[in-house]
Symmetry: C2
Subunit: 335 residues, 2 copies
Amino acid sequence: MTKAQKAPATFDVVGIGNAIVDVIAQADDAFIVANKLNKNLMTLIDAERADELYARMGPGREISGGSCANTMAGIAALGGRAAYIGKVNDDQLGMVFRHDIRATGVRFDTPPDREGTPTARCLILVTPDALRTMNTYLGACVNLGPDDVDETTVAGASVTYLEGYLWDRPRAKEAFLRAARIAHQAKRRVSLTLSDPFCVDRHRESFLTLVRDHIDILFANEAELISLYKAPDFDAALQAVRDHCEIAVLTRGPKGSVIVRSDELHVIDAAPVAKVVDTTGAGDLYAAGFLYAFTQGDDLRRCGKIASLAAAEVIAHYGARPETDLKALVREKLG
Amino acid sequence: MTKAQKAPATFDVVGIGNAIVDVIAQADDAFIVANKLNKNLMTLIDAERADELYARMGPGREISGGSCANTMAGIAALGGRAAYIGKVNDDQLGMVFRHDIRATGVRFDTPPDREGTPTARCLILVTPDALRTMNTYLGACVNLGPDDVDETTVAGASVTYLEGYLWDRPRAKEAFLRAARIAHQAKRRVSLTLSDPFCVDRHRESFLTLVRDHIDILFANEAELISLYKAPDFDAALQAVRDHCEIAVLTRGPKGSVIVRSDELHVIDAAPVAKVVDTTGAGDLYAAGFLYAFTQGDDLRRCGKIASLAAAEVIAHYGARPETDLKALVREKLG
């Protein structure tokens, strides 16, 4: 596909994901063990378990989150044009979510549910090692369906970005596939993040088909990639993904990241962080930096460097959305 | 009053105040000016103005607040026995408030409103100089009345602590006076914080009468004290307050604090802070440290030192409730 075939993009990236407000509290490892939580992973919980766990948690701070929404907020903070599709309820937390994402400059017009289940929340326990243990009550997110995918927005975005977490609910999955179809018909790119090794494990076979048939740019961390291919190690998984999609963007925490496009391979160092406080959102902001730079036409190496900078900013504080001027940060560090 | 006359206390301190969830966002001075906000002060706003200002604010983080509630949370974090009386609605933010204060170990049993106005929120803009500009929509707080003052709790607390902000609403004022009466009948102490120079200005005459007739321990910062006595400077105000109540605890920001009890006067340095991030809650946590130490029987000098440490902790991060182990901090710094 060449530029001549496409209308100019209205958005750099449109994201579709679970619209979630994070409830972040500190906890020690004893709390994680006593409550049988899956440390450093995302676990789906029902309303009853959410109430029970919340009652046991320490005081929290509520900050808008949701993996894909964090990525869109990051793209906007970098100066990109981002839109978001996700479902909240018309309740207080839903209004908080809507305010926050719009305040970052992201276009967000998905109508909220007027009744039914409340806005989703993710109970996040941050341990002293800065790892985050996430427990998500999906609430209103389960009502996201194909009708929420605005055709004009998706057709007008250079990249449509989807989170693997959507695969957990049949209607969100339909929304996902409809978006991918619209994007490709408009000769745009479709991108996916695998989200979480648990999520990959739940959907391995259909993710493999999805990546092969629909995904142009795949984001995955080491654990997710190894899980997807049931590979013995990172390098084996890397070789498998090479032939599977146009671009694979693979993050490895403090070990940095690897970006591969057929024969082209870049190894990018992690950007330094004075003190890692809370790793929530590291992958989300990495994806933001990459997609922002990519849609500006930057080469893959610079995409990776901007991605690493954005990830480093978000892990230096609580919450998964940027708190400093990312545009200025990129200018200062990379020119 | 001597110890022999009193039943043993069930609580060290019970606080009565406006139950508020803070919505904290960064802003620059241009935003403060453009929106005609009263920098570094607390302004009461109505629902419409709250919506309007919220729509203009950047992305926020929601953290339970409320001046007096912050103080009670601080006392509990120091190891004291604290209870709180305040009114929330039975909505999501109300449940957040309830969860957070209980999770800190504070007893909180005031029944929430089941209908009517939503839980109060304070839109806080933190400028790069770390000062906070507060805009409070009182919501459900206006429904706090004398019936919410639980007699057993107040009679059983060594100190009843009241925030001046209550004086803004007639029914809360009645609750306030009822609590003071119960406390004194039980031979306990009554304490007041003046809250804010604007608040003092709104209620100067009645505050002067109140302090003289009902208050044993008065908390005020420099601006509030000067406003109360319309004094030319801090020292003149200090001389005026000396004869006015048993103990006056006067905070002066980075200049430290002064504690006066008739002829006894202590000048306490502010505890050092590596980087001041957000001064919200500095006075609240100072009061927490003081009241905790005071109810443990510490001398006034040590009360002031523990107070300064607690204040220093809270201004090193966003939000007005402690985030580190205050008990351990006191042990480490003061033994």
